[in-house]
């Protein structure tokens, strides 16, 4: 188990800044997920950690020791790529044993370790199959076994589940993260799947525009996002309400809400659909304009004159199209963000 510290890592491509003085620590044995919109340098950061790319400036410390000058083959920071990259001309056993073979371990030691690793990922006895004979989930598990076989100091997962269908994804997530916990290996997971990051990581780091926006445990990142950018990561059908804070009160077309200790000025409130409660009400001013059934939740698009809102309801409530409803908005002061002034992009 080692602790990773990134110290002001910067990287540019073609004069475009991808990473700007990123500082981040990952505790020993921790699973940290890296979240953020596409093109924010998440994969670049993994490659810098693995030694496949060099940072323009800054340092990387494994247990306090700089590894920036260490070539990838000596770093033991294994990157598992999104498309697994199992060597197609080698068998499963040869793939898993590859790193050990490169380290010149004896054939019998390699064989033992390979069968151990395959057992760990529940693929015992597949040594002699070729990658082309495996399903997506099996390839994923072989890639993991191959990475773990060399007892890496750091495991780097680049969107490991994005190529799997939903059902398989869930069982693979359970398996992979259970193994990570069992081996207590320091792991960085890059993902687009915010639900995955919320459910499985010890802490999350949100990257945007090459800067770390927030690092915290998942619940706090979800409940108290540090910026509008972070709040926007979670879920769809989110409502954005413009308003202003005067005397610790948020004023908008929805009415007045407590704004905590926010300073006066223009603000935008993020209202997630589950914060909008609907009640059937014959005299209600809102009408259901669209209904999207999504199993555990049903989403309603409601309108009142030119105003529109998204609401989500648990399955036991039911509204139909054109039903009249009244609403309660549970606005939360933590989800109020200063509105970008003109000229600044949101």
């Amino acid at each position: 188990m080692i602790k990773i510290a990134l110290d002001r890592i910067s990287k540019q491509y073609d004069r475009k800044t991808v990473l700007s003085r990123i500082s981040l620590t990952v505790e020993a044995g921790e699973l940290l997920s890296l979240l953020g919109p596409s093109g924010t340098g998440k994969t670049t950061l993994l490659k810098i950690l693995a030694g496949l790319e060099d940072a323009d400036a800054g340092d990387i410390l494994f247990d306090g020791q700089s590894v920036r000058r260490l070539p990838p083959e000596k770093r033991k920071a294994v990157l598992v790529f999104q498309d697994y990259l199992l060597f197609p001309h080698l068998t499963v056993g040869e793939n898993v044993g590859f790193g050990l073979k490169m380290a010149k371990q004896s054939a019998s030691a390699v064989r033992t370790r390979v069968s151990e690793m395959l057992q760990l990922v529940q693929l015992s006895g597949s040594e002699n199959k070729y990658p082309r004979e495996l399903s997506g989930g099996q390839k994923q598990r072989v890639a993991l076994a191959r990475a773990l076989a060399i007892e890496p100091r750091v495991l780097l997962l680049d969107e490991p589940f994005s190529n799997l269908d939903v059902l398989l994804r869930h069982s693979m997530q359970e398996l992979v993260f259970a193994i990570q916990r069992k081996l207590k290996i320091t792991t960085i997971l890059v993902t687009h799947d915010w639900a995955e990051a919320l459910m499985f990581s010890d802490r999350m780091a949100v990257l945007d525009n090459g800067v770390v926006q927030q690092v915290d445990i998942p619940e706090r990142v979800y409940r108290n996002p540090a910026s509008l950018k972070v709040a926007q990561l979670f879920g769809t059908s989110v409502n954005y309400i413009d308003g202003a804070v005067r005397n610790q009160t948020f004023l908008s077309w929805m009415g007045e809400y407590r704004a905590g200790d926010r300073a006066d000025g223009p603000y935008q409130a993020v209202v997630r659909p589950e914060q909008v409660e609907l009640r059937a009400d014959a005299a209600g001013e809102w009408r259901v304009q669209k209904k999207i059934f999504a199993g555990q939740t049903t989403y309603y698009h409601i309108g009142k004159e030119e105003r529109q809102l998204w609401a989500a309801s648990p399955p036991n409530t039911r509204h139909e199209l054109a039903d009249q409803v009244s609403i309660t908005v549970n606005l939360r002061p933590e989800l109020l963000f200063p509105k970008a002034t003109a000229g600044e992009d949101q």
Binding site: K47, P72, R75, V114, Y130, I150
Partner: protein
């Protein structure tokens, strides 16, 4: 298979087979009066003439085979790093360098040979095997670099990265992962380069000064002389040597990348 796919396949086969069939017929033709589709009489004149001179030709075939094999090997050794740089790295002036690499294909061989000849005489390379190899290498490099660059692009650099993070040194990654995956491209480049070198006439003639007698040098007068029997026989031999080369390469590649053969646990 769809009808059109089949039709095109047949057409392609016919385009390949017909000239070869023509060669075969001419090598065995005795009298072949004008309107007839096949020769009137069979004659082994071409083949017996060849058999009579077989020793001389065999010597040239061996010279050519060794020369072209060496050129191919050298060419791949030089092309691979260059192709890798062009495929995987971005750098200023990359387009210019690519054009520079292709330029031997664009300039007339004759003018290049004349220009280089004087230098080679000064350097003592004219009329020598190394000189001929060098000039062959020059005309082969564009093929080697371009084919390998495209093959490397198709394979991608991610395999080397994956091997390295698993602890493979640069050489281990090349030997166990990249080269086996690149094998089809290496075979294609070797075949092309070998053919270019094996068929080279004018450069061998000028730089070798007639001292280095390759197979193409030897058969050229017969092709020009208009004896269709003998030139057909020689062309067939020429084709067979190249086919043999392709076969050997394929076998080598298969042996190198074959299932469970190169990487025993």
């Amino acid at each position: 298979m769809k009808f059109w796919s089949k039709a095109f396949l047949v057409l392609a086969l016919a385009l390949l087979a017909l000239p070869f069939a023509g060669l075969l017929l001419w090598s065995l033709a005795g009298e072949w009066p004008w309107p007839q589709l096949v020769p009137a009489t069979v004659s082994f004149r071409g083949w017996t003439a060849f058999a009579a001179m077989a020793e001389k030709f065999l010597e040239a075939i061996v010279t050519s085979g060794l020369l072209s094999s060496a050129v191919t090997l050298l060419c791949l050794l030089v092309s691979l790093p260059a192709a890798r740089a062009l495929a995987y790295y971005q750098f200023a002036g990359k387009r210019l360098i690519e054009i520079f690499f292709i330029s031997p294909l664009l300039a007339p061989v004759m003018s290049i040979a004349m220009g280089v000849h004087m230098q080679f005489i000064r350097l003592g390379l004219a009329d020598t095997l190394p000189g001929v190899m060098l000039i062959h290498l020059f005309s082969c490099l564009p093929y080697g670099i371009l084919i390998l660059r495209d093959a490397l692009l198709a394979v991608g650099s991610q395999w080397e990265d994956q091997a390295k993070v698993l602890g493979a040194s640069r050489w281990q990654a090349a030997r166990y992962i990249v080269l086996p995956l690149l094998a089809p491209g290496l075979v294609a480049a070797s075949v092309m380069v070998f053919i270019v070198s094996f068929s080279e006439y004018i450069l061998t003639f000028i730089i070798g000064g007639g001292k280095i007698v390759t197979f193409s040098l030897l058969i050229f007068p017969y092709l020009q002389g208009g004896d269709r029997n003998i030139s057909s026989v020689l062309s067939i031999i020429f084709l067979l040597v190249i086919l043999l080369w392709i076969l050997v390469l394929e076998l080598l590649a298969r042996r190198y990348t074959g299932q469970g053969r190169f990487f025993h646990l």
